[in-house]
Structure formats: C-alpha cells, structure tokens
C-alpha cells in the first residue's frame, strides 16, 4: 500500500503543469529525433543535456526519459514509410511495416504500432512500479555466461526467419557474423580485418549498414519499376480491420511479455527483443508465409516489444543504477550531473523524485499515443509525394543521417556499399534479416564468451554448472534441432 501512496504522490507531481509540459516537449522532440536518421536516441539525448541544465533535476529527467521513448516511436515512422529505420532498433518493423505501406495500409501499420507501443509501455511501467526490486534481482542472474547462452539462443532463432532456403539463411547469418568481427577483438584488443584502415577499427557501423541495406536498396529497387505503378493505393485505411485486430491483439500481448522480460537483462540492446518477438509470432502464426509481406502481427509484435523493452530497461536502472543501453547511460549522465546517483539509495533518499519520474512514464506513454495516433494519417500522406521527389528526399535524408553519426564520410561509403549489396541480395532472393541478426549478435556472443572465460580462468564448465545458462543452451539446441528437422529434409530433397 505504501507503493500506491508513493505512486499517487508521484502522479500528483507528474501531472503538474510544468512537468506535464516537459514530458510533452520531450515526446515531441523524441519523436523528431527518432524520425531523423542517424541521430539515435543517445546522440539526441546528449545534445539536449545542456538544455536541461536550466531545469530542475526532476523536470530534466522527465524530459530526457520522454525523449528516449519518444525516439523509439519516431524510428517506427520512417521504417514504415520509407523502409529506413530511424534508429537501428526499428529495423524489424521495416520487414512488414513497409510492405503494409506499399499496400496502402501505412496508416494501419503506424496506428497499430502506436497502440501496441502504448500497451507495452504501460504494462512494463506498471510492473516497474509494483514489483521492481524482485525483478531487478532476477536481472542480476544474467551474468556473462547467461548472456552468451541467450545471444546464442537468439542466433538459433534465425531459422525462423529463413525464407525458402535454410542454406541461404545460414549463408547470410555466417556472413553477418563474419562482418561483425571487423574491428577490435575482445581477446587481444587488436584490430581484425581492418587492413590498416583506422575507420574500420570499430567495425562497420550498424546504422549506416542498416540504412543502406534497407533504405537505399529499397529506393533503388523501387526506382526500377515503371513510375506509373509506384503510385500508392489512394484509399488509405487508417484503422485495422476486425480480422487484423484479432491477430494483432495476441501479438501485442506476446510482444509485451517478450519485450519486458528481455528489457530486464542489462546490455541486451533494443533490437534483440524485436527480433525475438517477430520470430515467435511467425512461429505461432497459422499463416507464417504472410510475414515479410505485410502481416499486421509483424508490426504489432516488434513495436510492442520495443516499447516494453524501453520501459522495462528502467528497472535495473532505477533500482540498481545499472544502465542497460547507451541511451540510458546518457540519461544516467543527466542524473549524475544533477548530483543524483540512481540506485537503491535514491529510492530511499529522494522518493519524491523517483516516483514522479515513474509516474511520468505512464503520462509519457499516454502523451505519445495521443500525439501520434491523430498524426498517423498525416504521416501516411507523405507516401503520396511523387516518387521522383520522394526518392531524392530519402537519399538525401540517408546521406545526412549516415554522415551525422560521427561526422565521417566513411560511414556514407559504408551505407552506399551496403545499399548496393542489399539491392543484389534482394534481386537474388536471399534473406536480409539473418544477415542483420549475425551483424548484431556477433560481437555480443564473442565478447560474452570471452568475459565468461576470463571469469572462470579458462574453465569451460562454467557454462554447464550455472543452471540458467545451461537451460538457455538447451533451449538454443532445441530450437536449432527443431528447425533442422523441419526444413532439412526438404532442403536435401531439393538438392
């Protein structure tokens, strides 16, 4: 009951006109930052830190947090409309979201994303408010060995993303993993596959690669079609049909669960929950072949997971002071600069601040819904701009986005090369998603393996003596075996 009293006073503070205004401003700015490519939530939030020097601590944090999850939604808008993820975490939404847009259902896609995000965020924040401490303790159980096993499990899910050819998906995964190894390795701390080019020492950036593989390639492929046919269906359906609602509903709740569970594990990164939710949905669906062609669950699941993750990641942050992602690290910087240290002691010393912030998460999620739902129709109209102008605009958008990451032309070249490669892959029918998965998970898998071995002094039994780790490894093996049994016979018969 104490918690509810705290929450009530938190709401009273969060709904005060000043804080409400900050939350609103944060949501608006966050959405804009998410829409603008390259400016990921981390960079955008960091730019705005000096702005918050002028506000009091609580106000500053409310605004920054609003920017954070506002940006999550902003990234969705560009993913759906132009197949360019505004920030890397939204890339899975491109798979079905953009297809829906091409079918004239952009409004539906954006709408379901907004609703799903709201529900996911709400449930996550509720859990945060009510049962944060035990959740945090659970989060702590994920040490490097468990992390390794979890990432391996995620990798095995790639079989769920395979199109017609498991070998093709495997090839793309191997390629993605290999490319991810460009850069400094976790063993010697020395560059691999860099050939002396300093820009490669950190590997190929994920954002330029994704912008190229998805955004640029899409523009190139669309440009080839006769311009007449590129006109989008004029009739924009803004609301999902009955049938779509039904399917999306289940996806939303499953996405919430998955996003929330993974959000508790520090260091996972926003893309992994979206992948897992997407693949899980595809597996459970009675019509898996629709995924990648505009299935509404393919948007509802990752979008909900995304937002549930973002809000759940606040649990280890607020209760233990552990930032789960670079963006939250920036948020932590804001705390620290204001003389506050997130963690258990902050809950005791400044409950007014902590609970006001938690309450503002509820408020922020609601603001996002109210802000974005009506605008969905407006956003969708962008697709009616004639392709000639849209294409040039999008490419410019990508150019600035790639450059502005680190003020580097190299990133632009990476994007261009990825665009050409993505174009080729699409022509050949090879799947992009496994490539992406390998690219994202590669470093995490290798680093966590290495750290685990450093911890155990070279002893491999650490992976089987820890129960959670062992469980995850068995799950990974099961997923792989299941996929092999299902698809391999077909594969070998065809060969």
């Amino acid at each position: 009951m104490d918690t509810l009293a705290h929450l009530a006073s938190g709401f009273a503070a969060a709904l005060s006109p000043a804080y409400l205004a900050y939350a609103f401003a944060g949501c608006v700015m966050g959405t804009l930052i998410g829409v603008l490519p390259g400016l990921g939530p981390a960079a955008g939030t960091a730019i705005l830190i000096p702005l918050t020097f002028k506000l009091d601590a609580t106000g500053a944090i409310i605004m920054l947090a609003a920017i954070y999850y506002g940006a999550m939604y902003g990234g969705t808008i560009t993913s759906v409309l132009i197949n360019v993820p505004g920030e890397a975490a939204s890339v899975i939404t491109c798979l079905d979201g953009h297809q829906m847009a091409k079918q004239g259902r952009a409004g539906t896609a954006l709408g379901i994303a907004a609703i799903g995000s709201f529900i996911g965020g709400l449930v996550a924040t509720l859990a945060l408010a009510l049962i944060a401490p035990p959740l945090a303790r659970f989060a702590l159980k994920f040490g490097p060995p468990e992390f390794f096993a979890l990432m391996l499990f995620g990798l095995c899910l790639v079989s769920g993303l395979a199109g017609r050819s498991l070998a093709g998906a495997g090839l793309m995964t191997a390629l993605g993993l290999l490319i991810s190894m460009i850069g400094i390795d976790p063993v010697r701390g020395a560059p691999r596959f860099a050939f002396g080019i300093a820009d490669l020492y950190d590997g190929l950036g994920l954002v330029p690669v994704v912008m190229g593989l998805f955004g640029v390639a899409e523009i190139l492929i669309t440009a080839e079609q006769p311009l007449r046919e590129v006109v989008r269906a004029r009739l924009e359906r803004l609301l999902p049909s009955r049938d779509e609602w039904r399917r999306a509903w289940g996806a939303i709740w499953r996405g919430t669960g998955i996003g929330f569970a993974l959000g508790l594990v520090p260091g996972i990164g926003a893309i992994v929950p979206t992948f897992v939710a997407y693949v899980a949905e595809k597996r459970l669906s009675k019509t898996p072949e629709e995924f990648g062609r505009g299935a509404i669950e393919g948007v509802a699941a990752p979008e909900t997971a995304n937002n549930a993750y973002a809000n759940a990641a606040m649990v280890p942050f607020l209760t233990l002071g552990i930032p789960s992602s670079p963006t939250i690290a920036v948020l932590m910087g804001a705390f620290i600069i204001n003389g506050l240290t997130p963690g258990p002691f902050l809950f005791q010393e400044r409950p007014d601040l902590v609970w006001a912030v938690i309450a503002s998460f509820f408020v922020g999620n609601a603001i996002l819904l109210v802000l974005n739902l009506p605008l969905v129709g407006l956003w969708a109209k962008i697709l009616h701009v004639p392709f000639r102008y849209l294409a040039v605009g999008v490419l410019l958008f990508c150019l600035v986005g790639a450059y502005s990451l680190q003020q580097s032309v190299f990133d632009v070249w990476v994007m261009i090369a990825s665009g050409m490669f993505g174009y080729l892959l699409r022509k050949l029918g090879l799947p992009l998603a496994p490539l992406l998965l390998g690219l994202i998970l590669g470093p995490a898998i290798e680093k966590s393996l290495r750290t685990s071995l450093e911890m155990s002094g070279g002893d491999f039994t650490i992976f089987v003596t820890r129960p959670l780790c062992l469980g995850l490894l068995i799950a990974a093996a099961a997923v792989l075996a299941g996929a092999a049994l299902k698809l391999a016979p077909r594969e070998l018969r065809a060969a």
């Binding site: 093709g168 495997g170 090839l171 390629l175 000639r388 080729l424 050949l428 393996l449």
Partner: protein, 160 residues
Amino acid sequence: MSLQSASHRVVERAVLVCLSAVFAAAAGIAYTYSLKDDLGPGAGFFPFWLAVIGGVLALFLLAQSWRGRNIGDDGEAQWPDRPGAFRAAALLAGLILSALLLEPAGFRITAFFVTGALLVALGVRRPVVIAAFALVASFGLFHVFYHWLKVPLPVGPFGL
C-alpha cells in the same frame, strides 16, 4: 517452373563465386590471428570457422544453382527495363557523387547540385520546382542540422 532467366542465373552464380572467394580469403586471414589462446578460442577462432561454414554453404548453393534449382525467394527477380535501370543507376551515381564531393565542396553546394541533377534525371522538367527543392534540400537541411541540432555538416570553399 523456374522464373529465373539465364542472365539471372549468371549473376547468381557470379555472386556466389565471389562470396566463396571472400570466405576463403577471410579464413586465410583469420588463421593468422591465432586460433587458440591461453583461455580458450583465440582472436582467429570464430572468424575462421565462420568463414569455413560460410564458404561451404556458398558452394552448396552454387551447386544448387548449377542444377537449376531456385536458391531464394523470387519476389524481385526481374531485371529492370532501360528507363528503370537508368533511374536506379542515376540515383546510385548521385549518392556516390555526393560522398565524393561532400567534404571538398561542403554540404550545401553538393546537396544543391546533386539534388538538382537527380530531379532532372528522374524526369522533372520545371526549373522553378527543381531550384526550390534543391534549395530547401541543401541550405534548408544545413540550417536545421547545423544551427538547431548543432550537428556539424561539412563546410566547403567560400564558407558554403
């Protein structure tokens, strides 16, 4: 019935051959980073085995392609017609040109000319529209990023 045309097969096989070569090279390079280390896998361990697996898969798919099987989904397998190819090539060339000119010429000049050129290449004929669009795309974007977002975009000669 296979939807793939002969030229498609050629490209398919060429890409697979290239990929196989890349994997082979990667395996070779990875081997020089030690495969083993005092604690376990060395810096070359994962890249080596991934390159081997990737190479095997690439060769497998090559064999399939040779025997006329489809290796991928055929959603977008058609090759474009002349005007289509021109448009795609123009857009790509525009991007490449921008990357080349960005730092020497500065963002505004690069964006202005490339935008204008691309619009013409895509078939826009009204000079006023082209100029306006190019202006907003170059100077407008610059202003937003440089002054509002404090993200520096390259400045070229004449301070442009």
